[in-house]
Amino acid sequence: MAIIQVEHLSFAYTTDLEPVKVLDDINLEIDKGEAFALMGPTGAGKSTLCLALNGIIPHLVNGTMDGRVLVDGIDTRDTYPAALSQTVGIIHQDPDSQLFCPSVEEEVAFGLENAGLARQEITERIDWALRVVRMDAYRKSSPARLSGGQKQRVAIACSLALLPKVLVLDEPTSSLDPAGQAEVYEAVERLRRERQVTLVLVGTDAEHSAAYTAHMAFLIAGKIIALGEPQKLLADKQLVTLAGVYPPQMMELAWELNSRCQTSYNWLHMGQAESDLRARLQDPRSHG
């Protein structure tokens, strides 16, 4: 059952010169509890689509929107984004711009206070959210003094504490080192498994998202040019290059081997490569 339905969504930013069309007739359905990856180059309209998912577009951004977005049956055109905060949580690219409280626990409490929850429930949710993202040891720390990965995990805890049904992560690891990236992806995947939270992972690098998501879409110049399983989409080198997406390293290796050795490997991660190569070593005639 689809929890996100995007129907014929188009959006153009209003500027002094002429409207700039960023999204062009987007149609998308994402099922409840699914992890979905939206990939594309810079300027493709990914962040704009994210803003449309929690109602910031059309309520807080100047522009013209056509079509509609339904999240858990709620039409975002009729609901103010603040009221949608308990349905859709959004983690923006820059964690610094999302954190403004003096301590980690107060950062998480901010959204819960806005939701009008009782004090005891706020305390319980803070404890739970910080435990899930493994930041409970830093609850009294100032967010400004945390590492990039820790900040992003606090930002996730802030959204998570509101118990949203959908979590949108707009390039959540773009400013993080590999260890920080792994921290964030592990935290959100654990959430999806344990709480059935629907994940929308947005970015240009498919290294991590391909391993965690069931479906993937390529967005170029405001249009979805391909939609399907990551394994199938990423195997198409021409399409991946056209979409400006960084493929997983194992997939690049598979492309190289396929072109040099006339094989047909298709790997997203080390495990797949290992089993194929073991089979090949035992039986050199396998895969071609």
Binding site: L60, Y80, A82, H92, D94, F110, A115
Partner: protein, 269 residues
């Protein structure tokens, strides 16, 4: 962009534990007393007292020093302008064209310069020791609507961030051959235009990102907001409140009924 720049200094001393509403009232009363006084000795004692309070509260000398470095140019300008352009009785030190400097005008200038430093530290005592959420809660508890309180608290917190951004952009522009230290005053003023433009764009972007983050976390939702940790006055807070109010009333009566602190040099005129 990092949000690490903050007026609030981490700590856990007696001043930190004081209710933020009492601290706000202390800042207001302290400012009122200082503004009503122009006696050199009283202003000097007030400045030393506030510095002693800040040091006893655990605010580092480095923090106080860095604030003083920002204040010194303002203090020097106040001393110069007052000494040169405010006619006050006293021994004439020098005269040039329409400018006359006397011992009285110089003393008044020094007093006003010290007073601006004391005023800054009185207000900073509140900001150094009150974190943003306590700041917002205290303003809201005093009757300000929550969005206003939060906006004011975030704005106060971001003053040092703006200064840091200015420095960052200025360094980047100078690395790209922007000349700020040479040339005429007009040339220097022009050189600041690209920095100012970049800073305005940067500030607008930060404000936009912050507003989206606030809304995404339910700020402005049509729901009655709760407060996770409401402020509570303790016995010590009531004692401080009483002391502050009594001192302010006594100080203002002494000033306006008995002329205490009007003269620049003598305590009673």
């Amino acid at each position: 962009m990092s949000f690490a720049y903050d007026l609030f200094q981490n700590g856990d001393s007696w001043l930190y534990r004081l209710d933020p509403r009492v601290k706000l009232l202390a800042s207001i009363c302290g400012s009122a007393l200082l503004l009503s006084c122009r006696n050199f000795w009283l202003v000097l004692v007030a400045l030393l007292l506030i510095l002693a309070i800040l040091l006893s509260a655990g605010i580092s000398r480095a923090t106080l020093g860095s604030t003083l470095r920002i204040l010194v140019p303002v203090m020097v300008m106040i001393v110069l302008f007052t000494a040169l352009f405010t006619p006050v009785e006293g021994t004439r030190l020098f005269q040039f064209w329409i400018v006359t400097c006397t011992t009285g005008s110089l003393l008044l200038g020094i007093t006003l310069g010290l007073r601006i430093a004391a005023l800054a530290y009185v207000i900073l005592a509140w900001l150094y020791t009150t974190d943003q959420s306590a700041l917002t809660r205290s303003l809201v508890a005093l009757g300000l609507p929550h969005p206003w309180g939060l906006t004011l608290a975030i704005a106060l917190r971001h003053i040092p961030l703006l200064a840091a951004t200015f420095r960052q952009i200025s360094d980047a522009q100078q690395a790209r051959a922007l000349e700020l230290s040479r040339g005429s005053l007009l040339h220097k003023a022009r050189a600041f235009i690209p920095i100012t433009v970049a800073m305005i764009i940067n500030s607008l972007r930060t404000a936009e990102a912050l507003s989206r983050a606030l809304v995404s976390r339910g700020f402005g939702a049509p729901i009655q907001r709760t407060i996770w940790r409401p402020l509570k006055m303790r016995a010590a807070d009531w004692v401080w409140l009483a002391m502050i109010l009594v001192s302010t009333v006594v100080g203002l009566i002494a000033r306006y009924a008995f002329g205490f602190g009007i003269d620049n040099w003598f305590l009673f005129s």
